[in-house]
């Protein structure tokens, strides 16, 4: 048996290995190049530090929500608002914090814990002369390492935040007993919550690791699960950021807009307070902060019962997380069924298709399997989210001109997404399959196979974005704007692709899609960005003279593009 200190030191190696594993997985078919990069650029080796600090700060920042809610409780109460409603809103805010904490932890840490959870990094640990128990503890320490900074922030922030702000603000308003109770219970809640969150993180990262690295036959079902979970992940990430902004801005308003009768609110309060996570804790802190005034005994009992349930729940999840951790450090990712499926020679068949379709199929296989590609393919579907979230206030305050600004910002966002899509698609080409290198590939076919992505994905996302505003007064204006700009998107994407190929893939006799001219790569990438944005800006500029001119510009540039295509990629 080694000492904990020694094991913690060893866990550093495993942790690094896990990070690299995650990075390699995201690099996908680009791994060879990534390894070369990491060899030269040492900062690439610890990409986790910044994210760790960011999430620690985010978690710390979150605490402003419950504290804000708690310290305004008394002034709200004295302004004559129904106490049951005050309890409701206050508890909701604290509970919101309790939910967001693990969400943020997960969003920021997932990228790294996932590599560790796949179990890959433990493989070589097993070749060392270490006991089973030691390896288990290394597994535990490795996990702790992946969130050590966030951990400090999580365990300290709520109690200190409460102590400082509440003592300062509420000190004179509530009794000493309540004050002490508040500090003690927030400390207690922090500890339970911490264990709960960590366990949840362990279990969820493990689930994600299994989904992302499922090595079994490439079934359509696993592909769909993979894509859907990535989309959910990004939506949750965006949603949480948005909610935080809303929450802080809207808490005072919420207090003022009671929509149920006092009786209903009371019933809702009692039901919610029994729900262990996240409400029980939220209610408990709120009730104490209210100094127990106007609080029914039933509610106090309910939230205490909820808290006890929460402790049990945490214990249960903690046990489950422990066994998950044990599994990772000791066995393979997934237990395969032992019965072997018979495979016959007759199973070996071939189905051919045209080259363009073949490229499309290959791209799909790779995109749905590799992290970096999935991310890039999902980017376009963030466009509708942008429409949903960002311009809510902008249009109200700026009016019709504001609407145009919103659209222009969105078009630039579209061009950014286009560049990323182009990058992702060309990455697959240069993703170094030596078998493709030996195939008689016509670059023309390759380019053709990218067109559906440009014609379908981004335009579709743009239309969906507009549909989010269906029924509003600006809808006609928005949808006509989008329709007028629809042809621009594939034009801009293709031009961006051609330009990138021109910069990176120029050979003596032809131009290819792979990145082969890598010298002054940063400058070239910037040029591609500037080119794409510039092109989009030009179209926007033309559209200012009216949609007729835009249409002419579209036709002219489509013809130019077709000529370029024939020159760059001849038959």
């Amino acid at each position: 048996m080694l000492s904990n200190k020694e094991l913690y030191r060893i866990s550093k190696r495993v942790y690094r290995e896990g990070i690299l594993h995650g990075q390699l997985q995201s690099a996908g078919s680009d791994q060879a190049r990534f390894l070369e990069k990491i060899d030269k650029d040492k900062t690439q080796r610890s990409p986790d530090i910044i994210l760790k600090i960011m999430s620690a700060i985010y978690i710390a920042g979150l605490v402003t929500i419950p504290i804000f809610a708690l310290i305004t409780i008394h002034s709200t109460l004295s302004s004559g608002i129904d106490p049951s409603w005050v309890t409701f809103v206050g508890s909701l805010s604290v509970s919101g914090f309790l939910v967001m904490q693990p969400a943020i932890l997960l969003i920021f840490s997932f990228m790294f814990t996932w590599g560790i959870m796949s179990g890959g990094p433990y493989k070589w640990i097993h070749t060392l002369p270490l006991g089973r128990k030691d390896i288990e503890r290394i597994g535990f320490f490795t996990f702790l390492r992946s969130i050590n900074v966030q951990l400090i922030s999580m365990s300290l922030v709520l109690p200190t935040g409460i102590v400082v702000s509440i003592v300062v603000v509420l000190g004179s308003e509530i009794s000493v007993l309540s004050l002490i109770l508040l500090i003690v219970s927030s400390l207690l809640l922090s500890i339970i919550n911490l264990v709960f969150n960590l366990s949840l993180l362990v279990i969820i990262s493990r689930k994600m690791a299994i989904i992302m690295e499922d090595q079994e036959v490439n079934s359509r079902k696993t592909n769909i699960i993979r894509v859907v979970s990535m989309i959910l992940y990004m939506i949750i990430a965006m949603g949480v950021m948005y909610l935080i902004q809303i929450a802080i801005a809207k808490i005072p308003e919420l207090y003022a807009m009671q929509s149920w009768t006092a009786d209903t609110t009371n019933v809702v309060n009692i039901i919610l307070s029994i729900i262990p996570f996240p409400f029980a804790g939220g209610y408990l802190l709120t009730i104490i902060a209210m100094d127990f005034t106007n609080v029914s005994g039933v509610l106090i009992g309910g939230s205490l019962l909820g808290l006890i349930l929460f402790i049990f729940l945490t214990y249960f999840i903690y046990k489950k997380a422990l066994s998950t951790l044990r599994n990772i450090s000791s066995t393979e990712l997934k237990k395969y069924s032992m019965e072997k499926k018979e495979v016959f020679v007759e199973d070996i068949t071939i189905k051919t298709s045209g080259p363009t379709l073949a490229f499309l199929k290959r791209d799909f296989a790779i995109i749905t399997r590799e992290m970096s590609s999935i991310m890039i393919m999902i980017m376009p579907f963030m466009i509708p989210l942008y429409m949903l979230f960002i311009p809510i206030d902008a249009q109200v305050t700026i009016g019709p001109a504001g609407l145009t600004i919103v659209m222009i910002i969105m078009l630039f966002y579209v061009s950014m997404v286009s560049v990323m899509l182009v990058m992702g698609l060309t990455n697959i080409e240069s993703g170094g399959s030596t078998i493709t290198a030996s195939l008689p590939i016509s670059v023309r076919d390759q380019v053709k196979s990218k067109v559906p992505h440009f014609v379908v994905t981004i335009p579709l996302a743009l239309i969906v974005a507009m549909l989010m505003r269906i029924g509003t007064s600006q809808f006609t204006q928005l949808i006509s704007f989008a329709l007028a700009f629809l042809p621009v998107i594939p034009i801009v994407c293709l031009a961006s692709l051609f330009f990138k190929a021109f910069l990176f893939g120029k050979m003596k006799h032809k131009i290819v899609l792979e990145e082969i001219k890598l010298e002054r790569k940063v400058v070239k990438h910037i040029l591609v960005f500037v080119f794409t944005f510039g092109l989009m800006a030009a179209f926007i500029f033309v559209s200012a003279y009216g949609f007729l001119y835009l249409g002419i510009a579209e036709v002219v540039s489509a013809i130019l593009l077709y000529i370029t295509y024939n020159i760059m990629f001849p038959k």
């Binding site: 070996i348 045209g354 080259p355 790779i366 030596t434 078998i435 290198a437 008689p440 050979m507």
Partner: protein, 268 residues
């Protein structure tokens, strides 16, 4: 048209450098139809670089390469139609299964479905890889990945096979099968460029061998011709190779030091 006399590949005064490293230095050779041509040399000799230029995967600087009379820099697509290539590292899309991979290859090469299916079944069966047809490439062992590469190079029955260390990772039986396939290919008039640093393999398989060292071809010919050059008639290729690359002295030296070191650290 490819006739008996015209060369499959002819390389004249080829030079290629990466920055300051001259990887290939003014080499010339020809590969005839029905011939297995060996490129033999120590690590870093420039074998892979030479082979990649023949395929048009690296840009040509100086010298001339003709494959089937065509220029790989210009007509690489036409050339690749008639070439099968096994690269030294089996980099295959990890996120695909062999089924997807061979569907892709057959589509790009515009091959006939039923005919290809038959050939594929034959190759998978003789290389004992049938059970991996629907497994992800990422999960295959090194040797099984290599088999996929070899099958991909053979499936369209090309005129010329370019094989960079094709036997790495293969078990004895599969290696034997691949060697037999290459012999058959040769008997039917095809050519092979076979790059390796394993002397026994080169000796056994190749009709002619070019010994490369530090980017140069230092000797070329049949095994007998090479042994004459090294003044070691009847010697095996290992001795010839070490003599020609001037490594025989230094190898003796290394072996002696190694023995001293190991003897000095007797296991207790």
């Amino acid at each position: 048209m490819i006739t008996e006399k015209s060369a499959m590949v002819s390389v004249t005064n080829l030079t290629k450098s990466f920055g300051t490293v001259v990887a290939v230095n003014d080499i010339s050779f020809e590969v005839k139809p029905g011939e297995i041509f060996g490129l033999l040399g120590p690590n870093g000799a420039g074998k892979t670089t030479t082979v990649k230029q023949i395929l048009g995967l690296l840009e040509q600087e100086q010298g001339e390469i003709k494959v089937f009379g065509l220029d790989p820099g210009k007509d690489d697509v036409e050339i690749k139609r008639n070439i099968g290539y096994v690269s030294e590292d089996p980099l295959i899309y990890k996120s695909m299964t062999p089924r997807m991979l061979f569907n892709f290859i057959a589509s790009i090469r515009g091959m006939d479905e039923s005919e290809t299916t038959k050939k594929l079944q034959y190759y998978f069966e003789s290389l004992e890889a049938v059970e991996y047809y629907d497994k992800l490439v990422a999960t295959l062992s090194r040797g099984n990945k290599q088999k996929m590469q070899v099958i991909a190079a053979l499936i369209h029955e090309p005129l010329l096979l370019i094989m960079d260390e094709p036997l790495t990772g293969l078990d004895a039986k599969s290696a034997k099968v691949v060697k037999e396939i290459l012999e058959l290919h040769k008997e039917r008039g095809g050519s092979v460029i076979f790059s390796t640093h394993i002397l026994e393999v080169a000796e056994e398989m190749c009709d002619r061998i070019a010994i490369m060292d530090k980017g140069k071809i230092i000797a070329m010919g049949t095994v007998e011709e090479l042994s004459k050059m090294a003044n070691k008639v009847g010697a095996d290729l290992e001795d010839i190779f070490l003599k020609l690359t001037n490594q025989d002295e230094s190898v003796n030296h290394i072996v002696k030091n190694l023995r001293n070191m190991i003897n000095g650290n007797k296991r207790s």
